[in-house]
Symmetry: C2
Subunit: 482 residues, 2 copies
Amino acid sequence: MLLLFCVMACLAPGPPAWSDPPPPFDFDTGYSPIEVIIPNVIPAIYQSVSANASDATLVLRVTALITNAWFDAIAPYHPTAVGVYSDLGRQPAAEHTQANQNVAILHASYPVLVSLLPQHEPEWRAMLLSVGLDPDNPAATAAGIGKAAGEAVVANRERDGMNQLGDEGGRKYNPQPYADYLGYKPVNTAYELRDPSRWQPGIVTRGNGIFQVQQFVTPQMRVTLPYSYDTPNRFSTPAPVKSRLRGAGGMRLYREQVDEVLAVSAALTDEQKMAAQLFDDKLLSLGFSTLHATFFNGLTLEEFVQYDFLVNVAAFDAAIAVWNEKYKHDAVRPFSAIPYAYRNRNVTAWGGPGVGTVTDLPSQEWRSFMPTADHPEYPSGSAAFCAAHAEASRRFFSGSDVLDWTVPFPQGSSRIEPGATPQSDIALQWETWTDFETDCGLSRLWGGVHFMDAITAGWDLGREIGGLAHDFVQAHIAGHPG
Amino acid sequence: MLLLFCVMACLAPGPPAWSDPPPPFDFDTGYSPIEVIIPNVIPAIYQSVSANASDATLVLRVTALITNAWFDAIAPYHPTAVGVYSDLGRQPAAEHTQANQNVAILHASYPVLVSLLPQHEPEWRAMLLSVGLDPDNPAATAAGIGKAAGEAVVANRERDGMNQLGDEGGRKYNPQPYADYLGYKPVNTAYELRDPSRWQPGIVTRGNGIFQVQQFVTPQMRVTLPYSYDTPNRFSTPAPVKSRLRGAGGMRLYREQVDEVLAVSAALTDEQKMAAQLFDDKLLSLGFSTLHATFFNGLTLEEFVQYDFLVNVAAFDAAIAVWNEKYKHDAVRPFSAIPYAYRNRNVTAWGGPGVGTVTDLPSQEWRSFMPTADHPEYPSGSAAFCAAHAEASRRFFSGSDVLDWTVPFPQGSSRIEPGATPQSDIALQWETWTDFETDCGLSRLWGGVHFMDAITAGWDLGREIGGLAHDFVQAHIAGHPG
C-alpha cells in the first residue's frame, strides 16, 4: 500500500511535492529506500545538483553510489550475495528479516549522503532520526553493518576519478569539486565556429540578463572507475560521419542531418514535446520507471535493492563509455550546425515557446525545444542510459520486455511552454522496455539536441553495457564477483 | 516611526527577512516607496536579477527606472518640477498632499515593475491591492497621473539600448533580453591568456559540479541612454598603464600592482572582509545608505523621492561611462594577472574560505575574496558608483559631507566564510560620504577583484558624474530641464 502510494505520487509529472506527512515507517513491511530515502534525496538533487535532473553524469553518480550502499548493506542478509566494496560476513538465516535490511539500508545511506551532499547533512541526520535511528550510535548489528557498508562505498568512491573532493591534479587550496582536471579545451569558441564538425560551447542564461558560456561538464567521467568493465576503451562507436564535413559525403550529409532536425522541429507534437521533457529528467525517466517496474512486478525489498542497483550500474557505466566517446568525437550540436548549414538564410521550424512553427526563422535564431546540455553531441547519453536501463531490466525480469508504464501530463504542464502545452490532458504509454528506450532516444531528436546517428550509436553502446551490468550484479548476488 | 522601523530592518546584513506582517499603510503620513514598494522589490531583485545584487548594470537599471517613475509621478504635486518622461500638468496646491503623492507613486510603480520584472506580475498586482489600490482601475486623479507617469517611463526606456525586450539587432524570434547585440568577443579564452594585459573570462560555478565561462555582462550598457549627459565619450580615464605589459614599465609595473593585491590578500582583516561583502551588494550599500540618509536628515516623502532618484541617476549614468571605459580598456583582472606574473610559483595570500593566510599558495590556485564579476577590470564600477552616489548626496545635502552610518555585522555573518568571519560582532562606521566612497573603492582591492589604479579612476569618473546628476535632477525640480 505504501509502495503504491509512493509510486502514484512519483509518477506525477514535474518534481513531485512531498508535502503530505508520510505515514509512520514500518520496518517489518516497509521499503525504506522508497518511503524514506528517495523522498528526501530527490528534492536535494533538484536543489543542489541539477534543477531539472538533466545533468546526467552528476545525477547518476549520486544515485549509483546510494544504491550501491543499499546493495552492499543487505548482502550479509542474503544467502550468497557479497557487497561491491565490503564483505561483512553472513548473518544467520534467522536474522534475514526485512527490519534488519531496512536498518542496514538507512545506516548505509547516511555516510554516502553526507559525502555526496554535505550541505544537506542536517537533513540526512533528521531523516534517520525521523524513523528512530541515531546516525551517531549504530547500536544494533544491522546498524553497524549498514554503517560499515556505506563507509566502504565512500572510501572506495571518493577518489573514483570524478574529482568529488576537488583536489585532483595536485590542487592544494580552494578545492573545486567535479572540476575538469584533465584540461579539455574546445576548438570552437561560443563566438566562432572555427571547425563546423566539432563541438561549440553554447551561450546559456537563466533569463536574468547574465549570459555564460558552457564548459564540457565533467570530461573526467571518461577516466572514472566503472563497475562492470575495466576500461571504456573496449567499446567504440562508429565515427559520426555526417558531422564530418571533410568526409566523403561532405556538405550533403551534413545538411541531411540538419534537415532532419529541422523537419522534426517544424512538426513537433504535444506528445513529442512532453516525452522530450520527461526523458531529459533522469530521475523522472530512469528513476520512476524503476519504481513502476518494482511495483508492477511485486518485488521484495531485497529484489528492489538489487534491481535498483543494477539499473544504476547500467546507466552509470554507460555514462563513462559515452563520455569517453563524446570526448573522442567532440561532435557539433544541432544549434551550431543549423546556422552553419543555413548561413544568413531562413528555415522552417519551431519558432520558440508559444510561437509554433514558422517559415521565416533566421537560422541563427533557431533554438532546440529542450535546452542543449553542456557536452559534445555524439553519441547521445540519454539514448545510451535508457538502452542500458532497458536491457538491464529485461535481463533482470528473465527476458520479459513488459513495462506497461503510463505517465499522465495535464494540460499546460510543459516546462518549456507552460500553460500552453499540452493543449489538453494527455498520457504517454510505454508497453515494453523496447518502446521506452526507443522513445527515450528519439526524444533527443524531438528535443532538438541530437542528430539521429548519435541516438543509434547511444542505443547500441547502452544495450551492450546493460548486459555487462547485469552480469556484474548477478555475480555479486551469487557471491562470485570474480 | 514606520520609516525608522524599516531602516532598522534594512540595515541588518544579508538580504533582509520581511516576514513580520507590516503595519497597515497610512497614505497621509506614510512613505509608500519605503514601506510598500522597496520591501517587495528587494526580494524580487535578489531572486530574479542578481542573487547578491552584485550585477550592477542590471540592478541599477531596475532601481533607476523605478525611482524615475516615482519622481515623474509626483512632479505635478510640486510647485515647479517636471517629469523626465512626462509633463502631466500641475495640480492645484490644495491637491499637493502626501496621500496623493503616495497614490501616484504606487500607480506609477506598477507598469514599470511589470515591464522590468514581468515574472513577478502577480506580486505587483497584490502589492497595490494590499493598500487598497486597483492597478486596473486608476480612478482618482492621482492614480491616473501615476499610471501615466509610469507608462511614460516604460515607453521611453524599453528601448534605451539595454535590450530589455531581447530583440535588438533585428532579432525576430526567441528574444534574448539583455543579451549583447554588439558582438563583444574576448581576446583571451578561459583556458589561455593570450594577451596578459586584456580581460580573460573567468570560470565560475555554483558549487554543483557545473562550471561555466563568464561572458562580458551587458556590454551594450555603453550605448545605453544616459540621463544627465549626451554621450559617455565626453569622459575618459587614463590608460591602465600598469596592466599594459607593452608599456614603459613593462613587467615591473605589472608585478607591482599584482604584488599590492597579494599583500592585501595576505593581510585581510575582518573589517575589510565585511566591507568587501557590503559594497559588493548594490542594494545594501547604495540603497540602504540612501534610506539611512533619508531618515538621518528627516526628509519629507517628496524630498526622499527626489533624493533617491538623484542617487540612482548618479550611479546609473556612472555605470554607462564605466562600461564605455571598460569596453575600451578591456583590462586584465587580478585572478588572471597573478598566475601570469607568478607562473608555477607559490605566493603568500589568503588561502580560501576558513584557511587564512598561507605562504605556499600555488599562484594558479589563488582566488579573490569576493567573486570576480563578469566584466573587464578597469575602471572599477563600484568605486565609480559610490563616488557618484557620495557626490550627489553631498550636493543634495547642501554640501554637507555628514553621513554617520553604522552597519553591524554579527559574529560569523560572512557569506564567504560563514560561521567564522567576523570572529566577533563588529560594526563598520562611515562618518562622512567621503569615508563611504573611500572604503567602497578600497573594498574592491580588499575583495581582490581590482587593482588600485582602477579604483582611483572609478572615483574620479564617478564624482564628476555625481555632479552632473545633481544638475540634471535639480533642473527638473526647478522646471527647467533645458
